[in-house]
Amino acid sequence: MSSIRLRLFVILALVSTVVWSVAAGWVYVRTQHEVERVLDARLIEASRMVSSLLSSGEVARIPSTGPLNSTTRRESYDRQLSCQIWSLDGALIGRSDGAPGRRLTTHASGFSETTIEGERWRVYAVENREAGVRVLVGDNLGMRDHLVQSVITGLIAPAGLGLLAMAGLIWMSVGRGLAPIRAVTRVIAAREANDLSPVMTPEAATELKPFTDALNGLIGRLGAARKRESQFISAAAHELRTPLAGLRVQAQIAASATDKTVRDAALAQMTASVDRTARLVRQLLEMSRSEALLSTVEDRRWIALNDVWPELLHRAGDHAGIEIHEPGPVSLHAGPYPLSVILGNLLSNAAAYAAARVDVRVETGEPFARLIVEDDGPGVAPDDLANLGHRFFRAANARPGGHGLGLSIAEACARAQGWRMDYARSGLGGLRVNLSLPAADVRAEV
């Protein structure tokens, strides 16, 4: 059931029906009991009354004359009681109008129930030895049931109507009760896509607060992500303008050059510029993917470093000086994409700055294993080391043409893996990058 209103309505309607039914059952039982008690008392009273009349001798004993007509069944309560007077030796002395001809009970005294001609009777018998008679007063049980049923139907009919009226009221009340939800819905539905302010409801129901809080939390995160994105886009647009400017200027030179060597040089510069811009675009895409990685968990699996080195070394321009030292074949538990971005950027960066040599070492250990990449290049000034992983940061002696993205991308991907990167001066003279990863993410292959 998807509608809260319908759900609440059904629950409330069912509960009320059950409550009303239980109440009706209880009333039925009580009424029946009470009717029985009152009518039984009346039976006793009536039989005693007749008996006492006979004792006083004020009523003549009239012998029965002929068979009596069987009474027609009456629906009204005025002929509910039947009275028979029997002599102690078993002769019917008298009976009330409408009483059956057959003896109402064979019991000598007290209560009993019999069925005569299909009708059930409750009979009270009194023996009057003084008058030599037995007085039987019977009550038609059908009538009794009819009485109880009348009481119950009298109760059920308004109850049914009441239930219907209540159903309507419940439906309306639930609707009213859900008004704050509708209010929040309206507020959210009426929002512009760029409105990332927290949702405030005019009728702030406390029950809705966790919901609006969660929603506002989401909106907050969304706003932060969007802000990051727009910062990123403006940074990217900004970064692309310089290579575009270079490209345009070189194109103008090539177009207007009369000297072939000038034109060829400009065209060569344009080719180089396009290559570098393509690299910048690739890095920007890696950057934005690494940002997205922070919020999604990519499938991580065991990746043997020996399987990825060839491709990475190729990306690093197959630098002859790269030496890889592993304690043995090692696998890392990582997402394939972030791993290749991290190692690819570290290797390319080291290869670009190295004079002759790049050392890559894997050191297993507890609680952190380390992957170290160092080069014998010019290194980075101590003041700049702290800013090295910042996006678009370029050290004072950075090589021309870089964009300050490689290491920051590697660092973002490392963070997404729960790894850490820090920088130091290498013993070889250049930069040393330490990638620390939990020992659980490193496995020696056998």
Binding site: H238, E239, L244, V249, I253
Partner: protein, 217 residues
């Protein structure tokens, strides 16, 4: 006009050097704030094409250096950050003009000529001295009705002299205007150009003050 282009992107820097040289100017390139400051210390420039984002600092540092030293240099900022507040900040910091990347070389050249005119306090596009008229944009010169056919360096020397009427420019000052710092300068290069100019203009126009330099009569 001698120009220092401060730009760290090697391809754009190369483009500025080659492109602006084609307008007849002498262009030197610096890639960092430090190189730019060193160049400004040692050489005199007429104009500075300055990129704001440099690896070792902000181009505005170079601008402040030029302005505090009260160097007579026209400064044109070149940057990717060209929102209105950025432009306002740059102009308030003392820049003469502003050009967003990417830009057109012709526009850059036109703006350089314009800021140069402003630095020299001149409202006209052409330069005049008596019958001599120079058009720095077209790089053409006339003497009366006669077209003068001048080489790039001859024009540069004449332009330098006509920009500062009555002033004496030393041989070193003229060399500064003519050659970038990587170029070899012949020992009597300036004399040779002056000699050629005199042949074209007539002997009387350019006066030599022995030991001091040259000026326009």
């Amino acid at each position: 006009m001698r120009i220092l282009a401060v730009e760290d992107d090697p391809i754009l820097a190369n483009g500025l050097q080659v492109g602006l040289t084609a307008y007849g100017w002498t262009v030197d390139v610096a890639g960092t704030v430090q190189d730019a400051l060193a160049a400004l210390e040692c050489h005199s420039f007429d104009a500075l094409v300055l990129d704001l984002g440099l690896p070792d600092g902000d181009g505005l540092e170079v601008l402040r250096f030029v302005r505090t030293r009260e160097m007579a240099v026209a400064v044109l900022l070149l940057t990717a950050r060209d929102s209105t507040p950025d432009r306002v900040d740059a102009l308030d910091a003392g820049a003469d003009d502003y050009l967003g990347k990417p830009f057109d070389l012709d526009e850059l050249a036109a703006r350089l000529r314009a800021v140069r005119r402003r630095v020299l306090g001149r409202a006209t596009v052409t330069l005049k001295h008596g019958d001599l008229v120079l058009d720095p944009k077209a790089r053409l010169a006339w003497l009366g009705d006669r077209d003068l056919l001048l080489s790039r360096r001859e024009f540069t020397i004449l332009e330098a002299l006509i920009e500062r009427p009555g002033q004496v420019l030393s041989r070193a000052q003229l060399e500064e205007r003519l050659y970038g710092w990587q170029e070899d300068i012949g020992s009597n290069a300036v004399e040779v150009h002056i000699h050629h100019l005199r042949a074209k203009l007539g002997a009387g126009l350019i006066r030599t003050l022995r030991g001091l330099g040259y000026t326009l009569q």
